[in-house]
Amino acid sequence: MTINETDIEGLYQRLRGKMTRLASLLLKDDAAAEDVVGDVFLSILSAKPENRNMEGFLLTAVRNRCISIIRSRQRSNVTRLDEAMPVACEAGSEEARLLRIERFISERLTEQTRRVISLRFKEKRKYAEIASELGISEAAVYKHLAQGLEKLRKEFNP
């Protein structure tokens, strides 16, 4: 079912506070957080996506925009040329970062950790399902996931 403008108005009234809070926690900037939430609602007004879980969809959209802004700020700090950077270049930088994460997972993590991360985040399996698939305990799944994410955090979000 396609979402209409009345639905969007209702979602805005209901979720604006939570979305702004998430953006504010990520960006540490209330004004920028308001802008992000406004942009997300503007984009769904024009795209009118079909999604049963609109709350999850909107919060994820806010999160992704915030991460994009954080990366843009970091690049700006390094190069001081960010504002002049074309949009395609920005998108390319984000894509390159995701590729680096993908490469780090395949080259720098152990075989078992890589499989756990892939099953959890790519195939969306539950802990018990991963444990059954790999023939290990749920505690071991948790341990591999924690180790992998810690290495990723140190590398990409020190």
Binding site: N53, L59, E102, L145, L152
Partner: protein, 211 residues
């Protein structure tokens, strides 16, 4: 103390958390960094999965293109089959042979783009579609009791018009050539540039000559 289960749950299903729970988790700097890491890892994994998934739109585009090309080829075959000998078929055929057909153009384009897989897909799709199209046309002719003679007459008239058009274009081309030959040198590169775009070629050359 970082709770990876809760952070991954928040990244995957933010709708399951209240604003207060979310705030409690993410106001801790270490948790926030982990949340961003989990989110980016998910995005990277999803992008990887999307890259490996089949691309139905693209496949469908090639199939449609192949079908259109096959129908065009069938139309051309039908035309040549229906044209009587006394309408200088050989002359017209020679003119057509000099012109690259849709299949050749598609082939050139594919080679340029190194898309050998798609080329194979087009070939096999054409092999599939062409006999089906021919059978379909025969079925329609039989079922609808179409008057073949009147179609042939229309085809003859059409071919006569095409021949007349070709002759007129040949005369026009000679005229353009003579005009271009008489131009001063700096104009020639501009004409060459026009020649690169088939659709604009005639219009632009005319504009240059008029100038």
């Amino acid at each position: 103390m970082t709770d990876i289960r809760q952070i991954t749950e928040l990244a995957e299903h933010p709708e399951r958390f209240t604003e207060e729970q979310m705030t409690e988790l993410l106001q801790d700097e270490e948790n926030l960094k982990l949340y961003i890491t989990v989110s980016e890892t998910m995005m990277a994994m999803e992008a990887q999965a999307a890259k490996r998934a089949p691309k139905p739109k693209r496949r469908m585009m090639w199939a449609v293109a192949a079908s259109v090309a096959a129908v065009a080829v069938m139309g051309a075959l039908w035309t040549w089959h229906a044209v009587p000998e006394d309408l200088a078929v050989k002359e017209l055929q020679a003119k057509v042979d000099e012109t690259p057909n849709t299949h050749e153009l598609a082939g050139d384009s594919i080679q340029e783009n190194n898309q050998s897989t798609e080329a194979t897909a087009i070939d096999s799709r054409q092999q599939e579609v062409m006999p089906q199209t021919a059978n379909h046309i025969e079925d329609i002719v039989e079922e609808e009791d179409i008057d073949i003679e009147s179609i042939l007459q229309l085809q003859r008239e059409r071919t006569e018009s095409m021949l007349a058009m070709c002759e007129a274009e040949a005369i026009l081309a000679e005229y353009y050539a003579s005009q271009i030959a008489s131009m001063e040198e700096p104009v020639l590169p501009a004409v060459s540039a026009c020649m690169g775009d088939a659709d604009l070629q005639q219009e632009n050359i005319m504009t240059l000559i008029m100038q």
